[in-house]
């Protein structure tokens, strides 16, 4: 206890020392970076789950072709879930002579479980937490247009007449995109029977939506698995959350990477600052030995002191991180649900753990030196304990960093890979660094010139090259620092430019569907007239997957996929000889324009890979589809990956050219129009009233908005990493200040003027910075290659980085070093020497 108090006191007194401050800043920054990113990702993740719950309509959604029984409802309710029933179907809706297929959504009085419906009841759009009441219908504006219906009109649904009382602006539980191509009509469950649409053979989707705690859902797992085997589609929001999209996933990975870079930087800063801390405390330790302290007491005393420092820095860092994540979130609120869950406790814990781990790993071995100090040092100053061996220091730091990597990435192979690569790079770096210093020394000796300026550069260069061990240490530390900074900056740049490339200004913002074969020419001509980036018209025909390899599809797929939507709904089948733009074949070969049926009559087909994975399909499997009253069989010859964010028509299944021509089919295309009021749109609707034109500008805007906001988050974090890098430079240069000041004082005793000294120091720092920048750029280029493969980006060579890093390095190190050594230049040489005698 005594020691703990003493260590606290010692630390408080020590706060005056620059190295302790550098340690504090480095640790606080590491904790701030990790907690900021941890808090942010944690809340983003939970926020997105909540949003997904809203999109899905509940935390748990069951879907089946027949009504759910009361026993199941009871089980769910008893587990603590709130339920809501819904029935979906496609049916004709009519008003006088106009008929239009519409997507019926029949909701009960508990709808919606999450969020609200945006509906215009005649006085502008308002948010309502309920559906239409009995006898009423709400319809989508598109349906209103197609039927020429308005509020107050009565539409016919089946055998029932309903009054239109609202126009639907948005549904809370509608997946982004345009999955339901038929326009929506929403009615009350009480009216369902009266429509006469519930008959044997009618295609109804019964949905049971449930809202409740994850634990409640978990308690039902066995029952849910049984339902899956019975062919009920079971969606759990945590598992079946719509994917973030590759852009957001990359952003997430980038942020984690930046957090780790900040930790590494802080580690380097801690290692550098600890060297100075230990040097400075050798005298204290020797004195305490003199006064009778044991080795154990000394070890404990300094360990406690650093532990307090670590804890204080963690608290400050965590607070900074809390503020930082609030800042990050405020950048992102535009596309996130308004109330995010509050920050959880885990990032705090991780932050403190990170700080202590960094301390143990990066400061520990160096700190042990204090324990071994001899009391005799008070009499004989030269009696310093030998520093810890370099490999011990590196090994301890690597071990801890590797453990942190593992903790954060939860990927053991990746962590070991990075660590092994890093160690190899470090050894190479050391050899190259040594060679570079030797080269510098030789270069200077051959460098002619005797002006003040040259002399300053020669002196500075020689100082640097001759102080081999110390300079090499700094060179390594700064190279790693610059490499980490450069990687984070460069990856950010490429991430952003690839995002922009992914959504060029002429991304299609309109889809035209339901184009009949005889309308093709005319529609194409119209689109060509005004629009850009039009995709070729793709034919499509709805088909239901019935058998796989001759077995009923539901029995052939893995048990958990028996309720998959692809088995219970029509899939849009297309055909053509060219691989659609944005598609890549991941297995097998593309059948091409001259594809022939197999001998047994099956047609070669190409299947989207995620669907194939879900349904357990592989190359050579046979799929039979029912199209109208016929059936068609295909054998899988290729799997494709396709980009769902491309805003091009995308298809799960592609048949060879002409294969489905004889079936009744329509065409689909997408195109870009600058002007939403372009007369072409009106012309198209007027000339071809059967065609539906869908505007996806809102969706596009939302995606662009997300990318824009994430971009800002990424830049915010980049700024943080750069700050951490500067803290390393500060810590390292602080550590080397006394040695340099001593040299400076001696040189002044020997007659060096102030300006020569200033120039010499500037030259030394600038050379150090330049060399570190050069090595850092090389390190960054190698590391970037690995990171790009991990992020799924195209690897590139970064010429600008090779230029900027050494120059920025020279400038940064030069400036910080120059400013830090200003104090020693101002003092008289006697004062500097005297001061050094005491430290």
């Amino acid at each position: 206890m005594k020691l703990i108090g003493l260590s606290l006191k010692g630390l408080r007194r020590d706060l005056r020392a620059a190295d302790v401050r550098a340690l504090f800043v480095a640790l606080a920054l590491a904790v701030a970076a990790t907690t900021m990113i941890g808090f942010f990702l944690d809340r983003l993740d939970r926020g997105l789950t909540r949003q997904a719950g809203q999109l899905l309509g509940g935390d748990l959604v069951l879907e089946d072709g027949q009504p759910f029984d009361d026993e199941l409802r009871r089980t769910l309710t008893e587990a603590g879930l709130a339920l809501s029933d819904q029935v979906d179907m496609v049916s004709m809706v009519s008003l006088q002579d106009a008929f239009q297929p519409a997507g019926l959504k029949v909701v009960d009085d508990h709808y919606p479980l999450y969020g609200s419906v945006g509906v215009d009841l005649g006085q502008g759009v308002e948010s309502l937490a309920h559906g239409p009441s009995a006898g009423h219908a709400w319809i989508a504006p598109r349906l209103a247009r197609l039927l020429d219906a308005g509020i107050g009109d009565s539409v016919q649904v089946g055998t029932l007449s309903l009054e239109v009382t609202g126009l639907i602006d948005r549904e809370p539980d509608q997946q982004a995109g345009f999955a339901g191509l038929t326009p929506r009509i929403m009615l009350n469950m009480a009216d369902l029977d009266a429509t006469g649409l519930v008959r044997p053979g009618s295609r109804l989707e019964y949905e049971l939506l449930a809202k409740g705690a994850p634990a409640a859902v978990d308690s039902l797992q066995a029952r849910l698995d049984a339902l899956r085997r019975d062919g009920v589609q079971v969606r759990d929001v945590r598992v079946d959350r719509p994917s973030l999209g590759r852009s957001l996933e990359r952003a997430q990975k980038y942020l984690s990477l930046a957090g780790l870079a900040a930790v590494l930087l802080a580690g380097v800063a801690v290692a550098m600052a600890t060297r100075r801390y230990v040097d400075r405390h050798l005298d204290t330790a020797a004195l305490l030995r003199c006064f009778g302290a044991s080795q154990r007491q000394l070890g404990q005393l300094f360990a406690w002191q650093l532990a307090w420092l670590g804890i204080a820095a963690s608290v400050v860092g965590a607070l900074l991180g809390l503020v930082g994540q609030a800042g990050l979130l405020s950048l992102l609120t535009r596309f996130l649900p308004l109330q995010l869950p509050p920050p959880g406790g885990l990032p705090w814990l991780m932050g403190v753990l990170t700080a202590l781990a960094v301390l143990v790993g990066f400061a520990g071995p160096t700190l042990l030196r204090l324990k071994r100090v001899s009391a005799l040092k008070v009499l004989r100053r030269e009696l310093d304990p030998v520093p810890a061996a370099g490999w011990v220091v590196v090994a301890a730091a690597s071990l801890v960093f590797g453990a942190l990597l593992w903790l954060y990435s939860r990927d053991l192979t990746l962590s070991i890979g990075i660590l092994a690569g890093g160690l190899v790079a470090l050894i190479v770096l050391m050899m190259v660094g040594r060679a570079l210093l030797a080269l510098l020394l030789r270069g200077i000796d051959r460098w002619p010139g005797s002006g003040t300026r040259q002399r300053a550069w020669q002196l500075g260069g020689r100082q640097l090259a001759r102080r081999r061990q110390a300079s090499l240490g700094q060179l390594l530390a700064f190279s790693i620092t610059f490499a980490a900074m450069a990687i984070i900056a460069v990856v950010r740049g490429d991430l952003l430019s690839q995002w922009q490339a992914q959504m060029p200004p002429d991304t299609p913002n309109y889809f035209a569907i339901n184009i009949q074969p005889q309308e093709r020419e005319g529609v194409s001509a119209l689109i060509r007239q005004a629009a850009s980036n039009a995709s070729p018209l793709s034919p499509m025909v709805p088909g239901r997957l019935t058998t796989i390899d001759g077995q009923p599809a539901r029995e052939a797929v893995p048990e958990e996929s028996r309720g998959d939507g692809a088995l219970r709904r029509d899939l849009n089948l297309t055909w053509g000889g060219d691989l659609p733009a944005g598609n890549t074949v991941t297995a097998g070969t593309w059948f091409g324009a001259n594809a022939k049926p197999f001998e047994d009559g099956a047609l070669p087909i190409s299947v989207e890979q995620a669907l194939a994975a879900r349904l357990g399909l592989s190359l050579g499997d046979e799929m039979t589809f029912t199209v109208g009253s016929d059936s068609v069989t295909g054998r899988i010859t290729s799997l494709r990956h396709l980009d769902w964010e491309s805003f091009q028509p995308n298809f799960f299944i592609i048949f060879p050219p002409g294969a489905l021509d004889e079936f009744g089919h329509s065409y689909l295309t997408s195109f870009h129009l600058d002007d939403p009021d372009d007369p072409v749109l009106g012309e198209m609707v007027k000339r071809y009233p059967g065609i539906s034109v869908i505007n996806v500008d809102a969706l596009l805007e939302q995606l662009r908005g997300i990318l824009g906001q994430v971009t800002r988050a990424v830049e915010f974090v980049l700024g943080f990493v750069l700050l951490a890098g500067v803290s390393v430079l500060y810590a390292a240069l602080t550590a080397s200040r006394p040695a340099r000041a001593h040299e400076g004082a001696l040189l002044r005793v020997f007659g060096a003027g102030d300006s020569l000294l200033a120039r010499m120091q500037w030259a030394e720092f600038a050379l150090l910075g330049f060399a570190s920048g050069l090595l850092g750029a090389a390190l960054a280029e190698i590391a970037a290659l690995g990171i790009y493969l991990w992020l799924g980006l195209e690897p590139t060579v970064h010429l600008a980085m090779w230029l900027v890093t050494p120059l920025a390095g020279a400038l940064l190190v030069g400036l910080i070093g120059f400013l830090l050594s200003r104090g020693s230049r101002r003092q008289s040489p006697m004062a500097s020497l005297r001061l050094l005698g005491e430290t």
């Binding site: 003493l6 004195l287 006064f291 080795q295 009391a375 009499l379 005491e838 430290t839």
Partner: protein, 220 residues
């Protein structure tokens, strides 16, 4: 071989000066006497305890609270204020009155007004006075002083020596002083000359019985 065939006993309450030219091994001898170092051969006892039987930690424990030091280069910690420097030895052993006691001792050496100054804000003489206060604050039985005036001008040095002897007398402490200044040495009860690794009596010296510290046949 720095020290050879050397025997010395110091009695409780006695003040002993060891004089010698630079490089004669004075500091080595002091280090051995104080148990900061161990001899390659020979025997050392402190407070009746043989130092040869103790490891470094054991010797440290023996010193704790009972031995004070004054160094030529003061050995004040630069980031600690005057009072904090004085508090340091007290804080190693459990006691309550650390601050009050340290203040009292700084007042006794005439630095009552400079408690919160850092060493670099103090003159050389003031720094050595802080060091003297630090040496006596734990009320040790034994104080070692290594060239206490070596870094000070003559007048300041004289004042420090006065202070050292006054405190020594008032607290009844044993004082072992290493110096090259014969005038200073003469003020001790006994002065010994270290020459070529051997200890010879210097001028005005008397021996006494019942030693508290002794070294015999030291080689190193």
């Amino acid at each position: 071989m720095i020290l050879d065939a050397l025997s010395l006993e110091v009695e409780h309450g006695e003040s002993v000066a060891i004089v010698g030219s630079s490089g004669a091994g004075k500091s080595t001898l002091l280090g051995l006497l104080a148990g900061l170092d161990s001899p390659s051969d020979g025997e050392l006892t402190m407070f009746g305890q043989s130092l040869g039987d103790l490891d470094e930690d054991g010797r440290a424990a023996l010193r704790a609270g009972r031995v004070g030091f004054v160094f030529q280069n003061f050995q004040l910690l630069p980031t600690l204020t005057a009072i904090e420097n004085v508090m340091l030895p007290l804080e190693l052993s459990p006691r309550q009155d650390v601050t009050a006691k340290s203040r009292q001792w700084l007042e006794r050496v005439g630095l009552g007004a400079r408690l919160d100054h850092l060493p670099k804000q103090l003159s050389g003489g003031e720094q050595q006075r802080v060091a003297v206060a630090r040496a006596f604050v734990a009320e040790p039985d034994l104080v070692f002083a290594d060239e206490p005036t070596g870094n000070l001008d003559e007048a300041t040095g004289a004042r420090i020596i006065d202070l050292l002897f006054t405190l020594n007398r008032e607290s009844g402490t044993t004082l072992v002083l290493v110096t090259h200044d014969l005038g200073l040495a003469r003020r001790c009860d006994r002065a010994l000359q270290l020459d070529d690794g051997r200890l010879l009596p210097a001028a005005s010296e008397h021996r006494s019985e019942s030693p508290t510290a002794n070294a015999r046949g030291v080689t190193s």
